[in-house]
């Protein structure tokens, strides 16, 4: 429909949500790539220390306790716990600076 009375989102008024409630497939793809990079960083830190006969608690914890991208559910990759959200989950992109954070662990008993 063309003309002054066309039905666009802006013309219809009301609240226009600029951020979709879920991630797009490309956002999810890039999220996976970022997570895989963090995994490979941890792996390299661990194997570098190991090759030199060294070890440290922090790296060991990251290697063995930190969830790996390949082992995680899609639900945990793309959503995070939120006590205000319906169903106690919201999409990861609503977390400020979400591309510079690791949002992998859920709270205990959730």
């Amino acid at each position: 429909m063309i003309g002054p009375f066309r039905a666009t989102l802006v013309d219809l008024g009301g609240l226009l949500w600029k951020r979709p409630w879920r991630l797009s497939s490309t956002q999810k793809f890039r999220q996976r790539k970022r997570m895989q990079r963090v995994d490979s960083n941890i792996e390299n830190l661990f194997s570098g220390l190991q090759a030199n006969g060294l070890k440290t608690h922090k790296i060991d914890q990251l290697k063995y306790q930190f969830p790996k991208e390949a082992d995680m559910d899609p639900k945990d990759k793309y959503t995070v716990f939120n006590k205000h959200a319906k169903g106690y989950r919201k999409a990861a992109h609503f977390v400020p600076k979400w591309t510079k954070l690791s949002l992998r662990n859920n709270p205990d008993n959730f």
Binding site: R34, R37, V38, S40, N41, I42, N44, L45, S47, G48, L49, A51, N52, L54, K55, T56, K58, I59, L62, K97, T99, K100, L101, S102
Partner: protein
């Protein structure tokens, strides 16, 4: 065998420090990283590994046998010109 053992972490900063917490920004600075796509080599020690781990979302970590200087890295980035300068006119 000893030449195969990696001795250095090759750390490349991929994300900018804009709006990251001051502690992480300072950690990157202590590692010698000031801007994106900058590369530094750090000796493999538990201390360096811990520092890199605290900024693991912002960098890319690779293992390296040798430490390369800034000039060497620049030389590697240069494209092949397709000719060799034999001599220059006086």
């Amino acid at each position: 065998m000893s030449s195969i053992i990696p001795k250095f972490f090759k750390v490349t900063q991929l994300k900018s420090t804009i709006a990251v917490p001051i502690k992480k920004k300072q950690t990157l600075q202590r590692l010698g990283l000031h801007k994106r796509h900058q590369v530094v080599y750090q000796k493999i020690t538990p201390q360096q590994a811990g520092m890199i781990a605290s900024v693991k979302e912002l960098v890319k970590v690779e293992l390296s046998v040798e430490e390369k200087s800034k000039d060497q890295l620049r030389e590697e980035r240069k494209s092949d010109p397709g000719f060799v300068v034999v001599s220059k006119r006086r």
